[in-house]
C-alpha cells in the first residue's frame, strides 16, 4: 500500500527529477501522476484518487497559487495536503502560500533529503509515528 502523489511542474526534467527523488525517498508510493500546470493538475485530481500534491508556483496557464486556491475552494479536494516546491522565496509570496494552506515548502534548488524530510513529516502527522528517511 502506498500513496497516490501528483507532481505539478511545467518542467518535464524537474518532474522527472521529482519522480526519482520520491521513489528513492523510501516513502510508500502507489502511483505518481504528473501535470504540467494547475489546469492539468485539477483534471488529474478529478480523474484519480490523489492523496498528496507537490506543486511548483511559477507555471503557465494556471500557476501554483491559483491551483491551490481552486483546490481549497472544492470540498472534494480541500483536504489534500499540498507541498510547494519552487524557486520563490520572497516573504510576501511565502505568506500567501501559507495562507492558502500549503503544508510544507521546499525551495529550489533542493537536496533530495528535503523532499524526503517533508514527506516523512507528512506521515508522522498522519500516523503519529516518526518515519526516518532512507537517505
Amino acid at each position: 500500500m502506498g500513496y497516490n502523489i501528483l507532481v505539478v511542474d511545467d518542467s518535464a526534467s524537474m518532474r522527472k527529477v521529482m519522480r526519482k527523488v520520491i521513489q528513492m525517498s523510501g516513502f510508500p508510493v502507489n502511483t505518481i501522476y504528473e501535470a504540467e500546470n494547475g489546469v492539468n493538475g485539477l483534471e488529474i485530481c478529478r480523474q484519480q484518487e490523489v492523496e498528496i500534491i507537490l506543486t511548483d508556483l511559477n507555471m503557465p496557464e494556471m500557476d501554483g497559487i491559483s491551483f491551490m486556491e481552486a483546490l481549497r475552494a472544492d470540498e472534494e479536494f480541500s483536504h489534500i495536503p499540498v507541498l510547494v516546491v519552487s524557486t520563490e522565496g520572497r516573504p510576501a509570496v511565502m505568506e500567501k502560500v501559507e495562507e492558502i494552506g500549503a503544508v510544507e515548502y521546499v525551495k529550489k534548488p533542493f537536496q533530495p533529503e528535503s523532499i524526503s524530510r517533508v514527506l516523512s513529516k507528512l506521515l508522522e502527522d498522519e500516523n503519529g509515528t516518526p518515519e526516518s528517511p532512507d537517505f
Binding site: S13, P60, E88
Partner: protein
C-alpha cells in the same frame, strides 16, 4: 546597479550549477575549442529585468545528465530533456535572483524560453542597462547577460 546585480546573477548561477549539477567553476579544460552549438535561455523578471544564459551545447548535455542523475553509461539524453533542463536551470536562477533582490511580490517570473543568441541585438537597445560576463563550468564558458530597463 548593474555591476552589483551582475555579481549577484553570476554568483547565483555558479551556486545553482554546483548544487544541482555538481559542476564546479573550473576554467581549465575545453574552452579553447569554440562552441559548435549554443543554447540560450531567457528569463524575464517582471518587465524591468531580463536574464540571458548562453551555454555551450556540450556543457548543456553534461548539465542535463547531472541534473537528471544519469550515469555516464546512460546515453539516453534526448534534446527535449536538454532543453527542459536548461530552462529549469534558468528558472532557478531567475527565481533566486528575484529573491536576492527582494523584488516586489507583484513582479512575476516569466516561464523560461529558449531564444536565439541575443548578444548582437541587445547592444543596439536603448533605455536599457546591459551588463555581460562569462563564467566557466567544466572548462566550458557560460555567457551571461543582464538587461535592466532604465525607465
Amino acid at each position: 546597479m548593474a555591476p552589483r546585480n551582475l555579481r549577484t546573477f553570476k554568483a547565483l548561477t555558479s551556486d545553482i550549477l554546483e548544487e544541482v549539477c555538481f559542476l564546479l567553476p573550473a576554467r581549465v579544460g575545453l574552452e579553447e575549442e569554440p562552441a559548435a552549438q549554443t543554447i540560450t535561455v531567457h528569463i524575464a523578471c517582471g518587465n524591468t529585468t531580463d536574464l540571458y544564459l548562453e551555454f555551450d551545447a556540450r556543457l548543456a548535455k553534461v548539465i542535463t545528465g547531472n541534473f537528471l542523475g544519469k550515469s555516464d553509461e546512460e546515453t539516453s539524453i534526448d534534446s527535449t530533456m536538454v532543453t527542459s533542463s536548461i530552462m529549469e536551470i534558468g528558472n532557478m536562477v531567475g527565481g533566486n535572483y528575484m529573491n536576492a533582490l527582494d523584488m516586489p511580490p507583484d513582479t512575476h517570473l516569466s516561464p523560461p524560453e529558449i531564444v536565439e543568441s541575443p548578444w548582437s541585438d541587445a547592444r543596439e537597445r536603448v533605455h536599457y542597462s546591459i551588463a555581460t560576463d562569462t563564467i566557466f563550468a567544466e572548462g566550458y564558458p557560460i555567457h551571461l547577460m543582464l538587461v535592466e530597463h532604465l525607465l
